[in-house]
Amino acid sequence: MDTQTIKLQDTAVEATQRITGKEAIIKCLLAEGVDTLYGYPGGAIMPVYDELYKYQDQLHHVLTRHEQGATHAAQGYARVSGKVGVAIATSGPGATNLITGIADAQIDSTPMVCITGQVASHLLGSDAFQETDIIGISTPVTKWNYQITKASEIPEVMAKAFYIARSGRPGPVLIDITKDAQFEEFDFAYKKCTAVRSYKPVPKLNPESVQAAAAMINAAKRPMIVWGQGVILGKAEEEFKAVVEKSGIPAAWTILGVSAIPTEHPLNVGMVGMHGNYGPNMLTNECDVLIAIGMRFDDRVTGNLATYAKQAKVIHFEIDPAEVNKNVNADIAVLGDSKETLAALLPLLEQKEYPEWHNRFKEMYKIEYDKIIKNDLKPEKEGLTMGEVLEGINTVSKGEAVIVSDVGQHQMIACRYAKFNKSKSNVTSGGLGTMGFALPAAIGAKMGAPERPVVAIIGDGGYQMTIQELGTIFQTKVPVKIVVLNNDFLGMVRQWQQLFFDRRYASTELINPDFVAIAKGYYIDAQRVTKREELTGAIEEMIAAEGPYFLEVKVEKEDNVFPMIPTGASVSDIRLE
């Protein structure tokens, strides 16, 4: 059980001491190995902030400019570090502002613990100032939540919160703590949680299902792998690479799965889904065995389910039993943690190659390259493309950067073209599609992986949803690199309006401010690029800069992202124009 990050030696009971609830919360965070948390103070959480002041040499609290930013920063931190992200806010509006980030973490399986202050317990239900039912509000978007009204509950509940957030299929947990419980004194002792009676985070591995899967894979003529974030969350990158290399099977990825193996790996055949690559989408409907690993057949991946991989036998490696047969029926389901299941699969696989089958992917890549990729990356037209900016970043960063993207056209371009050498390098809002995610997430990502360059790629729309986090960047001096690909449009919506609504551009054109002046207003070095010949130099300057840096690139206003599978169409009806 390698994913159970809790080790036995960590579970020792600390000696009992009489302390307040507010101090106990800090001690719990420290016991769970938290070094950074993101938040915003307010009345109901002030006692805890008073303790954060005392413990500031051990716990780095980052003051974001909005509670939503705190959750996305915690998510960015969690996604690159593999640790639990922590966000903290006050009651009422502070708590409700966390909800978007919590919902994002829930759908993208990001381990996160959110702590909210609550009015004193005698005021619960009295419509007190800044009282809101955050337990009720957060229930559908949390893996677990709990309201603490007595200080004595703190150690056990906090231990459970971290255990639930990180174990099995990770997710967000919200702990609401009344103000009186923060002040109350009690006898504190901390014991890490290693089990919850009703909760089975990892299904028991069934060797027969692994054997059946291996037999089906070994007998396949045209097998194809589609992997997702489950490989990264399971820390199974090595096992996965070994499975791919031994079996010789072409492997495609979802946007949350990318970077689990390097982009340049010869068996990596690209991205599936709405704006994925031509080959893996088309050949999903030609393969004879589809091996899904740690992915959940999201509708943006499958297109029309009635025509998705109907010719193929499906093998589904999955940690969450509720995902099996949810969207696509599996002929064989291998339940369990990916590190464990892939390790069990590896010795049963035959060493194989599928040169002819692999050539089909290469042929289709050639078609896509000539029709789309060439024009995206090496355009001959005058206007700048989003693709050439990504290509420029690849050249300068050499695939070592963490790429944080927002939501929209630039996100699809970033996911399609960014090159990755290392795992946990692509941070984006996948399931929820949260505009405004990238800027705060990049702050967390840089703090979670300080040794790596972190480049946020953001559209001009999403950027303005959380632009105030420039203040956080300025105050913390966190050296994130921000690239806004500005087309003065909500580009993806405009693209749909062009393709499906006869170019009626309803409320998608943006009259934008001077982004460079805004960055400079926050004392962040900034420049704007409008011409191709300035691009490489600007990217080099940005990556070389010691501090944070803002780069605005004015790109072609009405470029579209292709290929595209229109909503409701089949993966094999993917459009190249």
């Binding site: 229930t139 677990w144 009676r197 909760y199 047969n325």
Partner: protein
């Protein structure tokens, strides 16, 4: 699989505040109407039991079970058809006491329906009837003719013909 049927869902859970909200949200989010809902203790100390009746296809039913079991505080969820369970509902009628003496027919109805008189006083008497929905509805129709002061019917409660093996499951969780 695509035929809509009545299912009795039995959910064994921890007894925690907020779990009812979490469980009902799973149905609400998918716009599935809960026909009836009952919560009680179960055969195991400290373990609660939800009994929920819903109408939907077996295919959707299976997916709902997956979503229910995914909840941290749910120990196990089952679904059963009417044939696989022994189930009943219970109800109470409050009726004017005069009628008991003036309307001979009421006494016959009570006898034939196997209903039980819970209490009688000068003003009213209370009748309790447990059974299938159709039996309760029949009794309701019969008594309506004389006037019902108050009526209430419980949600379905059911035990299954098969074993639930919750104790074994709890041991497995502990492993």
């Amino acid at each position: 699989m695509s035929e809509i049927k009545t299912y009795t869902v039995s959910i064994y859970t921890e007894n925690n505040i907020g779990l009812l909200n979490r469980i009902s949200a799973i149905f609400q989010r998918r716009k599935i109407n809960i026909e009836s809902l009952n919560t009680s203790i179960s055969e195991i100390e400290g373990v609660s039991r939800f009994t929920i009746v819903i109408n939907l296809t077996e295919e959707r039913m299976k997916k709902i079970i997956g979503q229910l079991e995914k909840q941290v505080e749910v120990i196990k969820a089952f679904y059963h058809t009417d044939e696989e369970t022994i189930f009943l509902e219970t109800c109470l009628f409050k009726i004017k006491s005069d009628l008991l003496f003036e309307e001979r027919q009421i006494q016959n109805i009570i006898k034939e329906s196997n209903a039980r008189i819970v209490t009688v006083n000068k003003e009213f008497f209370v009748l309790e009837k447990a059974g299938r929905r159709s039996e309760i509805e029949l009794l309701y129709r019969e008594l309506s003719a004389f006037g019902i002061m108050q009526f209430v019917r419980s949600g379905r409660i059911a035990v299954t013909k098969d074993e639930m093996k919750i104790s074994t499951l709890l041991k497995e969780f502990a492993e």
